[in-house]
């Protein structure tokens, strides 16, 4: 049965089983390949998107559970204030190596910064520990989040 979801502000109707994970709809049906497949079990965070602003693992999110939600992906996160700051910090700090996990890292970090303009190290640990980076770019991810937070100014 066709299901309509709203991705990056655009309604998209797809005809897949209602329990199909959002990840496969984005990647294989809609051709939005910025969101990555890593584990299929919400263990690595590569597939992270925002559902109504909340960082969500799209690999275990059935499409029928988000039909009333606003979905934001890496392709559009730069249009949000937090996302733009995070992307800039990622470039300034040269965070990226292979880059495969970084869509998910950026989505998690953007959600953190949007809800918490001045995260502590512990806040960063809590928000980011669900995102694995096999290249081990964690030192720079932490620095970049802090840089992005600084650009929020004192008192955010």
């Amino acid at each position: 049965m066709p299901t309509t979801i709203k991705v990056n502000g655009v309604d998209r109707t797809v005809d897949v089983d209602s329990d199909t994970a959002l990840l496969w709809v984005l990647r294989d049906v809609l051709g939005m390949t910025g969101t990555k497949f890593g584990c299929g079990m919400a263990l690595c965070g590569a597939c992270t998107v925002h559902v109504d602003g909340v960082a969500t693992r799209s690999c275990i999110t059935p499409i029928d559970s988000v039909s009333a939600s606003e979905i934001t992906t890496i392709e559009a996160i730069g249009a949000t204030a937090a996302g733009a700051k995070i992307q800039k910090a990622w470039l300034d700090r040269e965070v990226v190596q292979c880059g495969y996990c970084q869509s998910g890292q950026i989505m998690s970090a953007s959600a953190l910064l949007a809800s918490n303009p001045h995260p502590t190290d512990s806040d960063i640990d809590d928000a980011m520990s669900g995102n694995i980076c096999r290249c081990g770019t964690y030192v720079r991810i932490r620095e970049a989040i802090k840089q992005a937070a600084q650009s929020n100014g004192q008192g955010g």
Binding site: D17, W24, G40, G99, D125, R134
Partner: protein
């Protein structure tokens, strides 16, 4: 700067026309230019006659300059995160005299004659941390030759002495008259200039790019979701497949009931192979659901009862016999007999999976008259060859498109995933993308070998080593991967880090026994041989210091007089780490120093062990001398990265077999270090004008013994088997 064909939507079925056009040309060996060192004898492909490409100037296989001024650099090494798509362009651009932002990059097509790696026996491979070492001389030459020809063309046009012209930022200038002309406008003329026999390379003090931190060229596309990895390609009409391979290596499919799978919405086809079953569907969700609905009966074959313990006991037994002599200095038996103290130990390291973040995948379209492959792979020509062999098509009917790689670490130096995808695609009408689930990726990896070591040393009355005897057994990956490099029972990788220690050891004997485990394939893995040998040798050196009741840094320094670069990095790391300063209870510092991949590296790890045995690496200080640095930021990044990779292995890395099946399945049972566990990592780079060393892997081998040595300092417990067993680190009540 544009990554041509590397970002969507340009990527896909389109070819890289200029790269392929260049590669069709015939090439000959260049005359040796200025400079020295081991790279002088390399063959560099240069155009035979004129250097005129269809649309401009292509003096060699790496550089194309269009009449529109577009400069295209073709990358002979693949980008998998190590920064090669920035550092290789830096080498060319330095001599070509262009800015990095002026160049467009293309992946090299499979062509071993043009793009073979001279340091890997001519195989078109990216690995062994050697891209910069292999490219250092020839790719600067490539740039210098192109620049020389452009300058000649301008001088001829202006009727002036070429020596009165100079090149800068993609233009040739004639300072006496103030004239200038762009490379694009010179392209047609330059293509008719004879290729110079020799060129003079720039002196280090004239470098503008080399040695300065350059922004990575691949980063922008990787932060906005437009980068195209192999798994992202979408040729028109592509179907998605996922698969189940025999859970026991060497097993076969006995029976398949696919009725339920075929009933899943979106499933199009079930492909049954001898040892695997694939579900082809409209999307991965349907393919996975179909796979779960399959009922497959397997014939497990000869390894149905194999356990890791069986393999370990075979290795252990093997080390009771002598092996191939990998190193022999002095008279170790005699020195051992006269030693005042004798220390001996056994060490073991486990099988390890690569667990690249991008799961194994490959997209293939098999037609009657040709085959197209889209993949991110470290050995492109082998990918092409296996596709040709599997389809029965001639090599020139197989087109391979390379893509960005979401983590290699040696996994993509193998072509099993390409072969498998082509086997499946032969049964599918139209293109099919074969994507492995994470479980399939971990359970059908090709694994870093298990090694078992016996090591002993004799100490004199001062506690210093006078005899060193080391024997180990395990798989030789090289013997399978590059048989000509395996000679007299030895290969250059398996013994790397065991035979050429930085220390002055007057009597040293090292033996290796090649023992291939049954029922589990082995492969390269970040730092491969050194990931094992440096753990053993640097742990054991720590044991010797402890036996001599000496400080581990001071003990090592005494042995480093003949290797001043090693001594310097050790002293620097110790100083920056605050070696010797007091630490709280159950916190310790551990050290390691090594020379592998042509790079000197010392690390000090500061580790905390909780009362329940949990290990936390708090801080890592690294001092590195990798010779001439091309991109300093990449050197730092690679060490930071390799340190995390090594800590993951030290704390968690273990692949085990039970009844022939790999027991680990996903990131819950094969854990990777996470943000909350990541230490601070400081990197101190020594200024050097020596030839460049490799940086991709060195940090991984160094960190593991630094961590276990720190645990010894914190708890008095010596760990000789990986991964770290936290149970033995519990504080007794």
């Amino acid at each position: 700067m544009i990554l041509n064909h590397l970002t969507s939507p340009a990527a896909g079925p389109g070819r890289s026309p200029s790269a392929n056009d260049f590669s069709r040309r015939s090439f000959l060996q260049a005359g040796a230019a200025a400079g020295g060192g081991l790279l002088l004898s390399l063959r560099l492909p240069f155009a035979t006659g004129d250097a005129e490409a269809a649309d401009g100037f292509a003096p060699n296989a790496f550089i194309g300059i269009g009449r529109d001024g577009q400069i295209v650099l073709t990358m002979p090494y693949v980008e998998m995160g190590q920064g090669t798509y920035t550092s290789i362009p830096m080498l060319i651009a330095e001599e070509l005299e262009v800015d990095l932002k002026q160049v467009k990059l293309e992946h090299a097509p499979p062509n071993e004659k043009l793009y073979g790696n001279p340091l890997l026996g001519g195989v078109q491979a990216t690995g062994n941390s050697n891209a910069i070492r292999a490219a250092w001389q020839p790719l600067r030459q490539a740039g210098a030759i192109a620049r020389t020809m452009l300058v000649s063309a301008a001088a001829k046009r202006w009727n002036v002495d070429p020596a009165s012209c100079r090149a800068q930022s993609g233009e040739v200038l004639h300072p006496p008259t103030g004239r200038s002309i762009t490379y694009g406008k010179l392209a047609a003329d330059a293509a008719r200039v004879p290729i110079p026999k020799g060129v003079v390379l720039k002196r280090a003090e004239d470098f503008k790019l080399i040695g300065t931190p350059a922004k990575r060229l691949d980063t922008p596309s990787k932060v906005n979701g437009t980068a195209v990895y192999g798994i992202d390609v979408r040729p028109p009409g592509v179907k998605i497949a996922t698969l189940a391979q025999s859970p026991v290596f060497g097993g076969r499919v006995k029976r398949v009931d696919d009725s339920a799978a075929k009933a899943v919405k979106g499933v199009r086809q079930i492909v049954r192979l001898d040892d695997a079953v694939a579900v082809v569907a409209d999307h991965m969700g349907a393919a996975k659901k179909g796979l779960a609905a399959l009922v497959i009966e397997w014939d497990d074959g000869p390894h149905a009862k194999l356990d890791t313990d069986d393999i370990v006991s075979e290795l252990e037994t093997a080390t009771l016999n002598s092996g191939a002599v990998a190193q022999n200095i002095g008279n170790t038996d005699k020195a051992m007999a006269s030693a005042v103290t004798k220390v001996e130990a056994t060490y073991q390291v486990p099988f390890l999976a690569h667990a690249t973040m991008e799961p194994m995948n490959c997209t293939v379209h098999v037609r009657k008259d040709g085959c197209e492959v889209w993949v991110g792979n470290q050995v492109l020509a082998r990918a092409q060859a296996t596709a040709a062999k599997t389809t029965g098509l001639p090599l020139d009917k197989v087109v391979v498109h390379n893509h960005l790689i979401g983590g290699g670490f040696g996994r993509r130096l193998e072509i099993d995933g390409v072969t498998r995808a082509v086997e499946i695609a032969k049964h599918v009408d139209g293109p099919v993308k074969v994507v492995w689930t994470r479980e399939e990726d971990i359970q059908h990896d090709m694994y870093r070998p298990y090694w078992f070591d016996r090591i002993s040393a004799g100490l004199d009355e001062k506690g210093m080593p006078v005899a060193w005897n080391h024997r180990f057994a395990g798989s030789s990956v090289i013997a399978r991967w590059a048989p000509p490099l395996f000679n007299n029972g030895l290969d250059p990788d398996t013994t790397d880090g065991a035979i050429d220690l930085v220390y002055a050891l007057p009597n040293m004997h090292v033996e290796y026994l090649r023992v291939e485990p049954p029922g589990i394939p082995t492969a390269f893995w970040r730092s491969v041989g050194p990931s094992h040998n440096v753990f053993v040798t640097e742990s054991f050196m720590d044991e010797l210091a402890a036996a001599a009741k000496q400080d581990p840094v001071a003990y090592r320094l005494v042995l480093l007089d003949k290797t001043p670069r090693a001594k310097a990095v050790l002293a620097l790391a110790a100083e920056k780490a605050g070696w010797g300063q007091p630490l709280p209870q159950r916190v310790g510092r551990g050290v390691s120093v090594q020379f592998v991949f042509a790079t000197y590296l010392a690390q000090v790890a500061e580790v905390e062990v909780s009362k329940d045995g949990a290990v936390r690496v708090r801080r890592v200080v690294c001092a590195v001398d990798c010779g001439t640095v091309v991109n300093p930021d990449t050197v730092r990044a690679q060490i930071q990265s390799a340190v995390m990779f090594g800590i993951t292995a030290a704390l968690y890395g273990k692949i085990t077999l039970k009844d022939g099946r790999v027991e680990q399945t996903n990131f819950d049972t094969y854990q990777i270090l996470r943000m909350n566990e990541a230490p601070a990592v400081e990197v101190h780079v020594v200024q050097s004008s020596e030839l460049p060393g490799g940086m991709g892997e060195a940090g991984t081998s160094a960190i593991v013994p630094a961590v276990t040595n720190a645990i010894f300092a914190a708890t008095g417990k010596r760990l000789r088997k990986l991964p770290i067993d936290t149970a033995v680190l519990k504080q007794s009540a």
